[in-house]
Symmetry: C2
Subunit: 558 residues, 2 copies
Amino acid sequence: MPADLSTVLLIERHRGTLDKALETIRTREYWSPYAEHPKAYPDAEAGKAAFEALLGHPFELDQPGTDEWTGGERSPFGVELGVRYPHPDPAVLLPAMRAAVPAWRDAGPEARAMVCLEILARINARTPEFAHAVMHTSGQAFTMAFQAGGPHAQDRGLEAVAYAYAEQVRVPETAEWTKPQGKREPIGLRKTFTAVPLGIGLVIGCNTFPTWNGYPGLFASLATGNAVLVKPHPRAVLPLALTVAVAREVLAEAGFPADLVCLAVDRPGEGLAKTLAVRPEIRVIDYTGSTAFGDWLEANARQARVFTEKAGVNSVVIDSTDDYRGMLANLAFSLSLYSGQMCTTPQNLLIPRDGISTDAGPKSYDEVVADLAAAVDGLLGDDARANALLGALVNPEVKERVETAAGIGEVALASRSVAHPDFPRAVVRTPTVIKLDGAKPDAEAAYMSECFGPVSFAVAVDSTADGLELLRRTIREKGAMTVGGYTTSPEVERWLEEVCWDERAQLSLNLTGGVYVNQTAAFSDFHGSGGNPAANAALCDGAFVANRFRTVEVRRPA
Amino acid sequence: MPADLSTVLLIERHRGTLDKALETIRTREYWSPYAEHPKAYPDAEAGKAAFEALLGHPFELDQPGTDEWTGGERSPFGVELGVRYPHPDPAVLLPAMRAAVPAWRDAGPEARAMVCLEILARINARTPEFAHAVMHTSGQAFTMAFQAGGPHAQDRGLEAVAYAYAEQVRVPETAEWTKPQGKREPIGLRKTFTAVPLGIGLVIGCNTFPTWNGYPGLFASLATGNAVLVKPHPRAVLPLALTVAVAREVLAEAGFPADLVCLAVDRPGEGLAKTLAVRPEIRVIDYTGSTAFGDWLEANARQARVFTEKAGVNSVVIDSTDDYRGMLANLAFSLSLYSGQMCTTPQNLLIPRDGISTDAGPKSYDEVVADLAAAVDGLLGDDARANALLGALVNPEVKERVETAAGIGEVALASRSVAHPDFPRAVVRTPTVIKLDGAKPDAEAAYMSECFGPVSFAVAVDSTADGLELLRRTIREKGAMTVGGYTTSPEVERWLEEVCWDERAQLSLNLTGGVYVNQTAAFSDFHGSGGNPAANAALCDGAFVANRFRTVEVRRPA
């Protein structure tokens, strides 16, 4: 039976998109093939209905080796989802996945890229449905779940496909090699080069950004010829289950084994990731989550290439500004978005204790902190707007953290609860800002640890130079996904750059408008650097894809 | 004081060579800028004199942190070299090297590539001197030391520079990013991207190919902005000490700190590599050597990216041939070259016990083995030619191995000693071939372990299909740097390819002329695959360079 989706058809549909992605990762200009605005998706109501139809039912995937059904997700907005998922017997599932690999390998890089782009296109078409799934597992407010969980995640998936494709075609499929031998006949060889996968890639998803953080690894491994097993966070299964379902559907239509992409969901408390991670079939692991488990993976999953994004401590150095109000507004938004539950949210605001110079005159440390608190209050003063920005706290640990933060230091801005009109059981909290003295050793334990959630520290430092030293030490010891800086001094800018080059962290300078330190754009911005303790990989670059496959050469006399 | 070597001058000298290397790693055609034939180097006598002038003297490098002088190399040809080298105090040397990095980072990818090419050009000009140094540390015969230790090693260094350069310039230095905002003003960001190094790369050299196996890592780390500390094998210091000296000379002339490249030589029995490998300043490690220490590095040097080439078991599947004499001659040469002391030398010859079909009629297993033995005898019957091919045994362990090999099975070809007219103390041995029955469990312990040196096993297998299964198991469990195959059957060819794709090994088919399974050409052939237990990296590809640096982005409002 011929496949419904021929490679020829897929090339016609998607080759242009791939080429534009390949071009954009070189120019780093703005581009996305996936519309960002909800209005661009006509089926908003149908998407919601599709999401609701999933609730309370088993999520059928028809995978091999299902030994029971598991689940138990509960929306941070308080809705019981009641979806049940297949639980795998790895001893059955993994060999079945492994057996699917040769056909996928033999398809070659272009056909694989085209299938990946079809998967992304179908996911894109169902963005409203995915948005609800992301919202009700991560706690993101709807618009953020729509954008970050939809088109922005799809962008990151496509970016990974583009990098993977580019890497695999750096050598030609065949080459004629002719070496002169002086007066004798030249020696000739005919060579073929084949990109071959490593085996099965394991994607270990996170609670807060199941698709955005999951897609790069998923598509990088798949596009390089590996099978992919997706192990979602137990509290954020649905968006990745939907993803796996779409991938299986497209693979089958294109004539490939659906088992190239499978789902593995934990029994409650099972810790399935630990079992899977050390299986010999698993040769690549992509992980986003705690430093403790990331370190465990790096130390123990020695049979696999392990890509980790772990915890970090993000800082903003505040030296001076020529747009005081813009700076405050920008920072207020960054601290508030998704209640600070982003790996890129600033935590430590490093402010000279003698104050800073601004276009509104000199501002003391206390004034800067008070004005920032006021800016947050202003931004979130209206409950509807607050709900639209904050979303819900993703889990009880974050709630606990924000509730005990007041004990850490002087509260410059208290967190308040916001009632959600549609979801009365949602836990919605505004950010808190705590004052700490950077010179006091007892404060260091707080600001030198990640306090994940809506908690920031206004750390008083002796001077900008002192702040830069603290920045350097923080990145070196704790890692950072992002660094921000505000200064009108070219010298301080250069110092900030030097620290970020030395310690390998991504720097945003003087953001006062509609771009925020905690947001990155695929095809242009790198997410993390892969060069400090917060992550050993960046999204996305050559290093993220180059070692997911190997090139096998066969040479014969010409 | 301006540098003697300006970047402008270096670009004029070397940019064309870099561009040709960049082109060739894409076409994989034949090319080398470094002449292979000794006659191309007019200063042969001066090179020998320069080598001899080094003997018995301290090798001055003017490095920081030298706390004593060490050495003790003895040529496998029996000559006492008597060179003494600086021994470092890592607590002084490493911080000095680290301090040299920012200037090198700030130079950018092109200037770094140009400096690397100048280093290679000066090494190339001194090829005759290097040839003697390689010969008298590795035991390679002169011509091989000249070619493999000279131009071929330089090729691999240049190839690494080309890959490193290409990887660093995949993103532009700057980008303007403009995102439309519907009817509102677009958002604009100005972005800069800087390739930043990880710190210090440690190159741990091997005894047999100090330059060939050392240059890829050295130049990949250096070209990506890292400092490089070279820790040679205690028995093969001189070629890498010369390399470090040239690198320091060029760096200084180009206005960079010479301490970007330093040498670290063990005290006898010190195990300095172990100490250095876990130092926090060391962020990249390139290692060639035993599996035991390679595994130790991978498990313990967790602060570094570790690239290893370890032991493997190389096989040749002999199914059938249409050039029986050519096959025998080619295999005889492969087994003899450098007395089988190459990581790429075939060890297991898998031959159906019922024999094979050839252009000279059917040949039984016994006939194939006897004819191969005769081919080796013929090749090495003349002592002068034997000495020119074999070189000397690199160390007493190899001698021990070849002497005890007769106890493993039936000797089809005995190793004999060859007297060397110029070096009476050299231990020169022809290869031995031992018959083993692949079906006998007690034989498996022998053929499933690396027996490094001039020892090969003619393993009788039940059939070609049985041989292919043994090949698969051998690669999977023990790894392989090379696989060879002889067959006239397209079906067997395809099976061989399938096994090598599945298990990620490099395959040479039906070599009967002047190309040998144990030789690879830079810019075209991959050395190893990086995807089986013999090595976690291939020379050279994107994965070998992409993670030696990170890209740091700085973004500002446009």
